[in-house]
């Protein structure tokens, strides 16, 4: 059997350890070893974005990251978006705005969109389309996805505004 490496990482905020072969992608490790099947394998060659996760806060395609590379780093998958009591506003808006059909692209869009809104809370439509250009959807025609992200951005800024007002 091939040699396995012991990897320590922070996964969705939790310290996590796993064993993997050098040749295994982060996507394989997430899905097959850690049983987090949110990230999807669309193309397995970096073209579709369905496997998008955050690596130290920035979106990457996990099919083009080796599992051994995440030693000491933090990884966020779509499973890390919602908290125990409610969906992330992006997830809620994707549902309300019917921004998914088959759903295979959805985890990747959600994770990339979260990274965008973390960095730029009020993006223009062009900025949203530019940031999500690495995610492919073969069902929705994109418009509903863009609108759901705009909608979530409004909700998040409203929520953060209320939180700020309460703190004052």
């Amino acid at each position: 059997m091939a040699k396995k490496t012991h990897v320590t990482t922070t996964l969705n905020g939790q310290p996590t350890e796993f064993l993997c072969e050098a040749r295994q992608s982060l996507l394989e490790v997430l899905r097959d070893t850690l049983h987090l099947t949110g990230a999807k394998e669309g193309c397995n060659n970096g073209n579709c974005g369905a496997c998008t996760v955050l690596l130290d806060g920035t979106p990457v395609v996990s099919c083009l990251v080796l599992g051994v590379e995440v030693e000491g780093k933090s990884v966020t998958t779509v499973e890390g978006l919602a908290d125990a009591s409610e969906l992330h506003p992006l997830q809620q808006c994707f549902l309300e705005d019917a921004a998914l059909q088959c759903g295979i692209c959805t985890p990747g869009f959600l994770v990339a969109a979260k990274a965008l809104l973390d960095e730029n809370p009020c993006p223009t439509e062009a900025e949203i389309r530019f940031a999500l250009a690495g995610n492919i959807c073969r069902c929705t025609g994109y418009d509903k996805i863009i609108r759901a992200v705009q909608h979530a951005a409004e909700r998040l800024t409203l929520r953060d505004g209320i939180l700020l007002a309460k703190q004052k």
């Binding site: 979106p59 590379e69 030693e71 690495g134």
Partner: protein
């Protein structure tokens, strides 16, 4: 993917030692956006993969006392795009790394990887040529040598790196006074495609005359090209659309494109003229303080100071 060993050295010396021990059976992993695809598809093979992203000198951007900038070869494109010093000093490079791929790819893909893949259509290469960049290559014995960007690639997928050598960083000289630049790429859609033709330009203007110019071309020959004659022809001239068009004509003369599914050869040659003229114009307008986004610039209904 077939099995391989993985190492993540923390110094160039350690990496060089691993590479020389592996005697040509090691591959360097930077962003992985080319290498991991090729390993998976069986296009390349490795017994050892050497991850260079834990080597500080290969992942940092810093200005040297001479005013030149040093960019680690394993620095992700997104970090280069975000860097205020790079954006203001080398707009052509900032333009190029911005459109090199989607966000996920830009967070991983590196300048060194783009260069070492040595595709004739690599987006960063014409911009690096325009920026007068050199690559610093580390050898097995601790030595280093410098190679100008226009001499790095020797053919499609081929370059000057020898077994055991490692591209460590890029050095970009301080931009000349009164200079700016641009990178333009023609693709048949808005985004996310491989260049039919790419053109990087750098222009400096002092007292109304052109004092420095460099034009780099991509996807029109087996390697990226420095349009030397066209660049030198601009020196001493007063910037104008006609002068820029002339540089475009001269650049067409060195294009030796192929026909493929992206474009017939004669259309590529035509595009060289157009992109050289337009990238010089954007560079000039940026020198004058205009803020131009090449992705959203309309070339119809022009009004400008030119």
């Amino acid at each position: 993917m077939t099995e391989f060993e993985y190492a993540a050295p923390t110094s160039v010396a350690e990496a060089a030692r691993l590479l020389s021990q592996a005697k040509g059976r090691a591959k360097i992993l930077a962003g992985g956006t080319d290498l991991l695809v090729q390993l998976r598809e069986g296009l390349r093979h490795a017994d050892l993969v050497v991850d260079v992203k834990r080597i500080p000198s290969m992942t940092e951007i810093r200005q040297e006392s001479s005013g030149s900038w040093r960019i680690g070869a394993a620095t992700p494109c997104q970090q280069i795009e975000n860097h205020p010093g790079i954006r203001s000093s080398y707009p052509a490079l900032a333009d190029a790394v911005r459109i090199i791929g989607g966000w996920q790819i830009k967070n991983r893909a590196t300048l060194g990887g783009n260069l070492c893949t040595s595709s004739p259509a690599g987006d960063s290469l014409p911009a690096l040529i325009a920026s007068h960049a050199e690559g610093i290559i580390a050898g097995e014995d601790g030595s280093t040598r410098r190679v100008p960007m226009e001499s790095f690639c020797t053919g499609p997928g081929k370059n000057v790196l020898q077994d055991g050598e490692l591209l460590e960083a890029f050095v970009l000289p301080a931009p000349p006074a009164g200079s700016s630049g641009a990178y333009l790429r023609f693709i048949p859609r808005h985004e996310m495609d491989i260049a039919v033709v790419g053109c990087g330009a750098m222009l400096a203007v002092t007292n109304g005359k052109i004092t420095a110019a460099r034009i780099g071309l991509g996807a029109v020959a087996p390697t990226p090209l420095f349009a030397e004659q066209a660049s030198q022809g601009l020196l001493g001239q007063v910037p104008s659309r006609d002068i820029f068009a002339q540089a475009g004509e001269q650049s067409r003369a060195i294009a030796r494109p192929i026909s493929d599914m992206r474009s017939p050869a004669d259309y590529r040659t035509h595009l060289v003229g157009v992109l050289v003229k337009r990238s010089l114009e954007i560079a000039f307008r940026r020198i004058q303080g205009e803020s131009i986004d090449p992705l959203h610039h309309s070339w119809t209904a022009e009004s400008s100071s030119l």
